[in-house]
């Protein structure tokens, strides 16, 4: 049998430094600019199957047609589902516990994932009406919406 001593084990800290860059492209940039400059949430509407998606993509994920229409959706939406996150990694932007929810904006056929704040998790109900709270400093990304909160 191989000689093994438990005291040989130890822990090595490490780090990954990955300079991540995402290029939104010509179509999606239009929607992100509208979010940044006008606080409008835009979805892409398929000309063939008439479904509206968020985030907007230039190809329909249902029928694979090319999409060139952006339509305004929301700003309010309906709560579809949620989860409460009870742990924190250094990469996370929010302290635990925080709520991640799937919100279907009015006029869209898909739900978007975002934070939910301003309500205790126990009080959440499926079908609740929520509205976005926008960040003061916006750069053309999903976190230009800070989180969603209940419509009182």
């Amino acid at each position: 049998m191989l000689e093994i001593k438990n005291e040989w084990a130890f822990s090595i800290p490490g780090k990954l430094e990955i300079p991540y860059r995402y290029f939104a492209g010509a179509f999606q940039s239009k929607a992100l600019v509208a979010l940044r400059d006008k606080k409008k949430i835009m979805g892409s509407r398929c000309p063939k199957c008439r479904k509206v998606f968020f985030p907007p993509r230039s190809n329909c994920e249902v029928c694979l047609s090319k999409i060139s229409d952006l339509v305004e959706i929301g700003p309010e939406g309906t709560l579809i589902s949620w989860t409460v996150v009870n742990y924190r990694e250094p990469i996370h932007t929010r302290r635990k516990p925080y709520i991640l929810g799937l919100i279907k904006p009015d006029g869209a056929d898909s739900a978007m994932l975002h934070f939910i704040a301003g309500i205790e998790p126990e009080k959440l109900k499926q079908g609740m009406r929520l509205k976005p709270v926008f960040s003061r400093k916006r750069a053309g990304q999903i976190l230009d919406i800070k989180h969603f909160k209940p419509v009182i």
Binding site: M1, L2, E3, I4, K5, N6, E7, W8, A9, F10, S11, I12, P13, G14, K15, L16, E17, I18, P19, Y20, R21, Y22, F23, A24, G25, A26, Q28, S29, K30, L32, V33, P90, I91, A139, G140, Q141
Partner: protein
């Protein structure tokens, strides 16, 4: 339009930059721990060999991957050996440990260490492909400050000799 004329973009194109800095932790366990502490504290290369088939395993393991039995024993390997295959890299890529572009050219090689048939991949200090070849002898250059990582060996220094027993 010539290359020197300034062109204004007709549309605002969004680029999202998120520098991901992910702290991580590797818990070695006793076997990998002995190997890495050997590099850090003693400049020794610990490996195991399988009593059943004779294979040397580097990093050390207690179960032979070919025989699937626990018949390993410790063996110490030398910090020198001979080069087998190698690459001289000319195109820079991002080093995920630092987030910086690697400096090119740089060389990596597969070295069979004296004492067993195990091989180790590591950097080489020679970037001229004409001076590298199968069977060329090389020796590890150790860092002064070692932390228990494979980079405690900075690189393998190429020697001017050829191994007598290297089998291509």
């Amino acid at each position: 339009m010539t290359m020197t004329e300034e062109t204004k973009p007709t549309q605002d194109l969004i680029e999202i930059r998120i520098p991901l800095s992910l702290p991580c932790r590797f818990d070695t366990g006793p076997i990998m721990g002995r190997f890495l502490k050997g590099l850090r504290d003693e400049k020794r290369i610990w490996a195991t060999y399988c009593k059943s088939c004779g294979r040397t395993m580097l990093p050390p393991q207690s179960v032979c991957a070919i025989c699937n039995i626990e018949a390993a024993e410790w063996i110490e390997l030398a910090d020198e050996g001979y080069l087998t295959t190698f690459d001289v890299i000319m195109i820079p890529t991002i080093n995920p440990l630092t987030g910086q572009m690697r400096k090119v050219p740089y060389s990596v090689g597969r070295i069979v260490l004296d004492g067993g048939d195990a091989m180790i991949w590591h950097f080489l200090d020679e970037t001229d492909p004409a001076k590298l070849g199968y069977g060329k002898r090389c020796k590890a250059v150790w860092e002064e400050v070692r932390t228990g990582r494979i980079t405690d060996i900075r690189y393998f220094h190429m020697l001017d000799e050829w191994d007598k027993n290297a089998r291509p």
